[in-house]
């Protein structure tokens, strides 16, 4: 009663379940190693049942053997520091495999129909993933350093051309499937061949202009794409294992990409379309624009910081946020991040105002530092968290001789890598002057009552 096909199908269902569990486990620190194992068992199961009705066992097995050997060697030999580029490379091979698979399948199809279209999409995404990953690999391993900037702007146009060709070819297929033979492209064989080349070329021009610092996000995106390619290939082959596993990777990979981009305080648009601009050294232009940020994004920035300076001001006192500030500090510390507190002598409204509050919250005196200790090493600090302080971090005190606060020594937080400012609005502090810090390129405004905002951050940290 059971055919080999249904037997395979049942096995695929099981391996899908294993993949689901595997991915879920991989996203928690304690279960991650086990998660990888579970997912690999899923893979083993799927592969074994597929081997049952292989057409050309020798060919296939030898290919698997060689591939397995190469992959394993790479994986075992690679230096720990080179792992990211290795992941990129593997990912590219995955994409290439989908590309070849769809190519082969289209080759053997005898009619042009909707499946042909899906196959074409597979080829495009697979090819793009392959070449894109290769570029990422070269960039990361520093074979490819900087791209000349004229190439960068050129790439943009080339990418558009690739996409236009994708559109043309797709409509060509659609029209053919309805029996119409359009003339805007040459005969099918030639158009298809061009398409094969264009697909690979697309990945090249897509990734080339992106700065090396953004590569991890790019790889994650390409990983998600390779999942989608697998899923589409699954449709072409009517293979549920491919569909489910591919979609899982595609969707969760997308989520991961967004999370990674946020934790680097970058948005995807920036990375892919103005990438080369902002990934070059960012000079402190004041451009009159503020950048609000959500507490989730702020969490992601803090979560991946390795040194955080907390600068409390009168706003912390008003919000009575000292206890949650202390808690946040503790959590950061547990996250193996170095936390210090920068106390400006006139922060608050009375001498020692911050000291009273932080002592109440049990912040150790040893963690409190004065501006003169902190300013020299400000540029080494990953993130400064300004909690309801304003005048005491106002760079015009040192930069604008006309300012009423000119001459006051300040905490020069604008010199750190990233500043997150917690306040309720854009209104000014005690001295009543606007604060250029808020407009610096490395500043983010986290609006809201300080206590509530920090409570949110704290809860993000605790899951």
């Amino acid at each position: 009663m059971f055919s080999i096909g249904s037997f395979q199908e049942v096995a695929y269902i099981f391996s899908a379940i294993l993949f689901i569990y595997g991915l879920k486990m991989l996203s928690r620190e304690d279960s991650a190693p086990a998660g990888n194992l579970v997912s690999s068992i899923g893979m083993l199961l799927a592969v074994i049942v597929s081997l049952i009705e292989v057409v050309n066992p020798i060919l296939v097995l030898s290919a698997m053997l060689i591939g397995g050997l190469i992959g394993s060697l790479f994986a075992i030999r690679v230096k720990m520091t080179s792992i990211p580029e290795m992941v990129a490379l593997f990912n590219g091979f995955g994409g290439l495999s989908s590309y070849l698979l769809a190519w082969s399948e289209l080759q053997s199809l005898n009619s042009v129909n909707i499946i042909t279209l899906i196959g074409a999409l597979t080829i495009f995404i697979g090819g793009l993933t392959f070449s894109g990953s290769l570029i990422a690999f070269f960039k990361l391993s520093e074979y490819l350093k900087s791209t000349p900037s004229f190439l960068n702007s050129l790439s943009k146009y080339l990418l558009v051309i690739c996409l236009v060709y994708l559109g043309l070819f797709s409509s060509y297929i659609l029209l053919q499937s309805f029996g119409i033979s359009p003339s805007f492209l040459p005969n099918f064989e030639l158009s298809f061949f061009i398409f094969l080349v264009v697909s690979v070329f697309a990945g090249l021009v897509f990734v080339l202009p992106i700065g090396g610092g953004d590569m991890p996000v790019v790889i994650s995106l390409l990983n998600s794409l390779s999942g989608i390619a697998a899923a589409l290939a699954g449709i072409v082959l009517s293979n549920t294992a491919l569909i489910v596993a591919g979609c899982l990777v595609g969707a969760s990979g997308l989520v991961l990409t967004l999370i990674m981009a946020k934790s680097m305080n970058r948005d995807l648009y920036n990375i892919f379309f103005v990438g080369y601009k902002s990934s070059s050294s960012s000079r402190g232009e004041v451009d009159g624009e503020i950048r609000p940020i959500s507490s989730e994004d702020a969490y992601l920035i803090l979560e991946s910081a390795s040194s955080v300076l907390v600068v409390p001001g009168y706003g912390m006192a008003v919000a009575q946020a000292q206890h949650v500030v202390k808690e946040l500090g503790d959590l950061l510390q547990e996250n193996s991040c170095e936390v210090s507190f920068g106390i400006h002598p006139v922060a608050g409204r009375m001498p020692g105002h911050m000291n009273v509050l932080l002592a109440e919250a049990n912040v150790s005196y040893d963690d409190l530092f004065e501006p003169k200790d902190l300013n020299p090493k400000m540029s080494t600090i990953d993130v400064v968290l300004v909690i309801g302080a304003n005048d005491v971090v106002n760079p015009s005190a040192t930069e604008e001789p006309g300012s009423p606060i000119y001459g006051m020594p300040i905490l020069e937080v604008h010199k750190s890598k990233t500043v997150i400012v917690l306040k309720r609005s854009m209104s000014s502090g005690f001295a009543g002057v606007q604060n250029p810090l808020f407009f610096k390129e490395n500043s983010r405004m986290l609006f809201g009552d300080a206590k509530e905002t920090i409570s949110k951050l704290v809860s993000e940290f605790k899951d």
């Binding site: 899908a16 879920k24 991989l26 996203s27 620190e29 991650a32 190693p33 990888n36 997912s39 690999s40 799927a46 592969v47 597929s50 292989v54 057409v55 050309n56 060919l59 290919a63 591939g67 397995g68 190469i70 992959g71 994986a75 075992i76 720990m80 792992i83 992941v87 593997f90 995955g94 495999s97 989908s98 070849l100 082969s104 080759q107 499946i115 991890p216 994650s220 990983n223 390779s226 999942g227 390619a229 899923a231 290939a233 699954g234 293979n239 549920t240 569909i243 489910v244 596993a245 979609c247 899982l248 990777v249 595609g250 969760s252 991961l256 999370i259 990674m260 992601l300 979560e303 991946s304």
Partner: protein
């Protein structure tokens, strides 16, 4: 025939939603391992590649390399992920 494709599409949609729900918060230390682990899973194309026909030379070559590269992805991916995760465990 059509119906089967629709069911496959249904499966596709459900899997996407499942994928979106599956991961919500990841410690930054796990970003790379998770990416790499997911990447290994996307080597599932291997399963597809195994079923390819090998009629003409082109097809044979294509099938051969499809299997070869997918295998690199699968074996390399799982092993490298495992190496990374082992490293964390030691800490």
């Amino acid at each position: 025939m059509m119906e089967i494709y629709l069911l496959l599409f249904f499966i596709l949609v459900l899997s996407i939603f499942l994928g979106l729900e599956l991961i919500s918060k990841i410690p930054s230390t796990l970003h790379t391992p998770l990416m790499s682990g997911a990447n290994a899973i996307s080597g599932i194309t291997l399963v597809g590649a195994l079923s390819l026909g090998t009629e003409g030379t082109l097809q044979t070559v294509l099938a051969f390399f499809a299997v070869l590269f997918a295998s690199i992805n699968v074996f390399g991916g799982y092993l490298v992920t495992n190496r990374m995760l082992r490293m964390f465990r030691k800490k």
